[in-house]
Amino acid sequence: MAEPLLRVDGLTKRFGGVVASDDIMLDVSAGELHAIIGPNGAGKTTLIGQLQGEIAPNSGRIAFDGRDITALPVYDRSMLGLARSFQITSLFRDFTALDNVALAVQAHAGHSFRFWRNARAESELRDPARAALKRVGLEGRADVIVSSLSHGEQRQLEIAMALASRPRLLLLDEPMAGLGAEESARMVQTLRELKQELTILLIEHDMEAVFALADRITVLVYGRVIASGAPADIRANEEVRQAYLGEQEVVQAQGAGLGATHG
């Protein structure tokens, strides 16, 4: 088997007495959509934060494409091809949608010590930005200020920005958080298209979406990996059912066979 694109080895992070990541092992192969599920407080966002570089682990190792990136700052990881979308929408709110995406393009188009030419008139930045907006269906909203976009549109814009930084691995932190049924369906469609050409690590509470999209699933409970495998195996795993769904209402989701509602 080829070297995985992302390899996480023994990753541990403590916040005071709480172990948010407990000796996590995780491989993400090139081309797959790997989902991480787990109840609230399982440490999913903490894990993404460490992969992206905002949070420094206490111990363990993260390798991206065979290279140790554990100590690399956030912006250098972005340059290598790690892109993250945020659970809580994190955009440039006083810029237009197009400006937001163009900034992501600019970040990967050489240094920005260019003081003279009007950046908003550079087709080298604007064209790829428009293309990324088009891929998430926001081409008609390019010139709208972000704070005037709907929540669903902002979630789509999050994805467009991650795309515009030409990622090799997309880290998506609950892209469907707070979306209505229609917006969720649109997001699932977007992710289905993206997974054709990108490696994606997806954190998501929407079980229907996870089982529809994922090639592999890792289950995280209290910072520990309790199971990892194909969706069918996870669905059949008794430990997962007990640990993850034990105290919660189990909903038989059609086509998925496992689903849970969350507050």
């Binding site: 912006y75 400006d99 900034l103 600019q106 970040a107 030419r117 550079e122």
Partner: protein, 331 residues
């Protein structure tokens, strides 16, 4: 956007035309005070525009910007005292030292945020202020009179008031144009992105610190030039040049005029300094109308009027005067 621009442009053009005509008016009426006042306004406008580059566009609220006025001014004054009159030496050295100081201050202060950033920039400015106070050879806290303005090998004569005025105005317009180009360039987008959401900037691959630092240095260079002009204008330097209240004045100019636009601080500088001159007269006039005689003591309370005006601008007109103009068009 474009409708805003036309209303704004009209004000910008009118303001520039007005500033260009000041010497004509002063010459025909013999009002030299107006020349002196507006030369000072233009020089401080350069400083305010440079402050707004880091504050309005970069989100770096520097409370020590007057330090660069002081450094620029003192380099001119000290060199003049030591017999080096050449502007070819004085000016580049003054600007370079201002930039170097900004590099040091920025490298340390940009690692902090919010109130801490404000306090650290203030602290550095206070250090320079007290150093200037201690320079006994150069007048200490009394200051130092500059005998001769900068010499440019006879090419230009800064002692000609009208010429000096137009030189300052040309440098102001050049500064505004330069900053305008800059904030709309890739560099400017990076700076504004860092102001808006620095965490996200890092996430999409920008090492924001180095862009902010360079921006901070550029603002220092420009303000150093303003200091050079101010020393040449008043023929005098003293620590008052960089008193912390002066840094406050520069912030007020940017807020009053509008931090969202490059030209806003110019409007703010004109508005603040003209109010500073006319409010005492206005108070005198009002007391005259109501009591039959002018109450001189009341004139000192002009800031009682200015304060609430600033409060209203901050509370109800976030974009300052520039913002009001932009909104009046489509409102």
């Amino acid at each position: 956007m474009t409708t805003h621009l036309t209303a704004r442009n009209a004000v910008v053009v009118a303001m520039i035309a007005f500033l260009m005509l000041v010497p004509v008016y002063a010459a025909t009426t013999g009002n030299t005070f107006m020349m002196t006042l507006f030369t000072r306004i233009i020089i401080l406008a350069i400083a305010a525009v440079s402050l707004n580059l880091i504050m309005g566009f970069g989100g770096m609220v520097s409370f020590g910007h007057a330090a660069y006025l002081g450094i620029g001014g003192y380099v001119v004054g000290i060199l003049a005292k030591e017999g080096i009159d050449s502007g070819f030496v004085q000016w580049p050295l003054a600007i370079a030292l201002s930039g170097l100081f900004a590099l040091g201050v920025g490298a340390l202060s940009l690692r902090t945020r919010g109130v801490y950033f404000i306090m650290i920039t203030l602290a550095f400015a206070q250090v320079v202020y007290y150093v200037a106070n201690g320079l006994d050879r150069y007048g200490g806290d009394d200051g130092l009179t500059i005998q001769r303005r900068s010499e440019f090998g006879g090419l230009i004569n800064l002692s000609n008031r009208t010429f000096f005025y137009y030189l300052c105005l040309a440098l102001l317009l050049a500064t505004v144009y330069l900053v305008w180009r800059m904030v709309n360039s890739r560099f400017g987008m990076a700076i504004q992105g860092a102001r808006s959401n620095e965490r996200r900037m890092n996430a999409i691959g920008f090492p924001t610190f180095r862009y902010k630092l360079i921006c901070f240095v550029i603002a220092g260079l420009i303000c150093g030039l303003a200091g050079v002009l101010l020393a040449n204008h008043t023929n005098f330097i003293s620590p008052q040049l960089m008193h912390w209240t002066r840094s406050g004045d520069l912030i007020v100019m940017a807020v009053l005029g509008g931090m969202g636009s490059v030209f806003g601080p110019v409007i703010g500088a004109v508005a603040l300094l003209v109010l500073e001159e006319t409010l005492p007269h206005l108070i005198g006039l009002v007391t005259h109308v109501f009591t039959g005689k002018e109450i001189a003591a009341a004139k000192e309370y002009w800031q009682l009027i200015l304060g609430p005006m600033l409060l209203l601008i901050v509370l109800f007109a976030r974009g300052g005067i520039d913002g009001l103009i932009a909104r009046s068009r489509n409102g």
